[in-house]
Symmetry: C2
Subunit: 325 residues, 2 copies
């Protein structure tokens, strides 16, 4: 069973019928109209020990901050403003009060950084440590950006750089050591959700669809295109890769593009936009101080096609990408 | 480290400073003002395998429904109306799609029963199965009932009956078999949150404080009294015990009162009310078809004192009760 299959089943099983539920299961966050144009945005996500983190490779404080980042990123990917968090923590009874205090410090740090307030908490004993965060935010119905609004011919953009987090994870997990990979490790442990960019493209109405890159660029682009009967052409040479990634990826992967396409946990924003918005997007990039790279365009076909720098189509075993979802 | 200690630390660490957050960590649910008198109510809770349930003793469907009950009960205990749920499920990759489908059936059943809508979902791989539910509800600021409003002299009431769920859990866990305990087992596996009673006492403004009994009557009464510098006198003979409980509790415990006081997971409502509201409370009981029993009264002292049917004070090792919290 893949997570995607199960989520599709759940989205279908729990199709919202209430008219005030504008978006239910199946987007980054749910959107519920609360009055006039004011909408409540809600999302839930869990970091699980052994799956999303190992306790030895980061401090509880770093983990607490990351849980906040992951939660607010989903709210930002709707063009919304995150406001409140509820946290359910599962830990072994042997975990000390110090663990909870350190983790709380990290949560508090994330709350200050992204101007959100933790309003609810729950603590359970669990053999597997987990941190569930539910994030609540607000948005005007005019500003909501869904996963489903892309059109044929739209440009495809991604913020920041891709693959650093995946490289950082490999450096932490592997036996090559992390020498020289500190930057990538820090991207993995301490991601930066692109809240300001998300908010600005939403307010300007220039993103036709948007998602945060958590499962890897390829998988997440499928959610904006293939899942809605559209396709995409992506130029591998346009993928934004950091100098650190380019100099180090060979140590962990024979193919840096593969790592950047499928690594995941980038927490960058991936969005589509009509080509008439190019100047506006350049302005958003300048105002936010974040690179926003055009990596391809939306096509009519239901497939994502990848092209190398010479314009030749490249065929990856994308089933291998799905495995990371 | 006790859960209560850790939650007190978190409530203190994350004291909400925003004026729109009427109640943060430390009550059954958080309450946030969204406009005029309209408030959003939010709560998060997790059921963890091996702690809150064992997979062999109930079906995934029963578990899904119970997770909904536990979530909406927290909203109801504020006098609020539950509206939306977000569910984060952690399960082993070996757990079949059938497990997820069955669990979803139970969640859907609970959603229909309590008129709530699942708007968000997340699925993670986890060695320990867990089901986290975040419930969102609505309430007018006029109707909110907190844990903190009791006064000396108030009557103490509890709905339904106590101890059945704890007895059911013992029947499921022990080696005495469940013969004759089917009713208690079904209370444990399929609780009934008292949403209608909670809503009605809130609308009438007759509950000065309220909580749902999840950690056991004694622990939860402490949260309404001792934690606010008050005490309580409880008459053991007034505790509402079902005929089934009375006939069976001797099989599992030498002292039925102890089981009813500390067993937990009753999901009944415990509330305090001025003695002038007695007729109104009788009417609520009649209208809802649910027994509401007066079990004692709030006192000035910071302790909970228990009295037997002859009026003699009974001294329990209440540290043993805390153990169940």
């Amino acid at each position: 069973m893949g997570e995607e299959d199960a989520l599709r089943f759940l989205a279908d099983r729990f199709k919202a019928t209430q008219k005030e539920v504008l978006t239910g299961i199946g987007d980054d966050s749910a959107v519920v109209k609360i009055r006039d144009k004011a909408c409540l945005v809600a999302s839930t996500d869990t970091l699980v020990e052994g799956v999303h983190f190992r306790l030895g490779t980061q401090t509880p404080r770093q983990l607490g901050r990351k849980a906040v980042c992951v939660a607010v990123s989903d709210i930002g990917a709707m063009g919304a403003v995150p406001r409140y968090l509820l946290c359910s923590l599962g830990c072994r009874s042997a975990d000390s009060m110090e663990f909870i205090e350190d983790l709380s410090e990290g949560v508090a740090e994330g709350c200050r950084e992204f101007d959100v307030c933790l309003i609810g908490g729950n603590l359970s004993e669990s053999q597997t440590v987990f941190i569930n965060m539910t994030a609540l935010g607000e948005v005007s119905s005019d500003d909501i950006v869904l996963r489903s609004g892309a059109s044929e011919g739209d440009d495809i953009y991604v913020t920041g750089t891709l693959g650093d987090s995946a490289l950082g994870l490999r450096a932490l997990s592997g036996d090559c050591g992390i020498d020289g990979c500190e930057g990538a490790v820090s991207r993995h442990i301490g991601p930066t959700p692109r809240l300001q960019v998300g908010r600005m493209v939403a307010k300007r109405g220039i993103a036709s669809s948007m998602i945060d890159v958590s499962d890897g660029l390829f998988c997440d682009l499928e959610k904006l295109t293939s899942e809605h009967g559209l396709g995409a052409e992506v130029s591998l040479g346009s993928l934004p890769l950091s100098p650190g990634f380019l100099s180090l990826c060979g140590r962990f992967s024979e193919d840096g593009y593969r790592l950047a396409l499928s690594g995941g946990e980038d927490y960058e924003l991936l969005f589509t936009s009509s080509s008439q918005n190019r100047a506006s997007i350049e302005e958003v990039s300048r105002l936010c101080g974040i690179a926003i790279s055009k990596i391809g365009s939306v096509t009519a076909g239901g497939k994502i096609r990848l092209f190398d720098e010479g314009g030749e189509e490249v065929f990856y075993d994308t089933a291998g990408f799905e495995h990371f979802c």
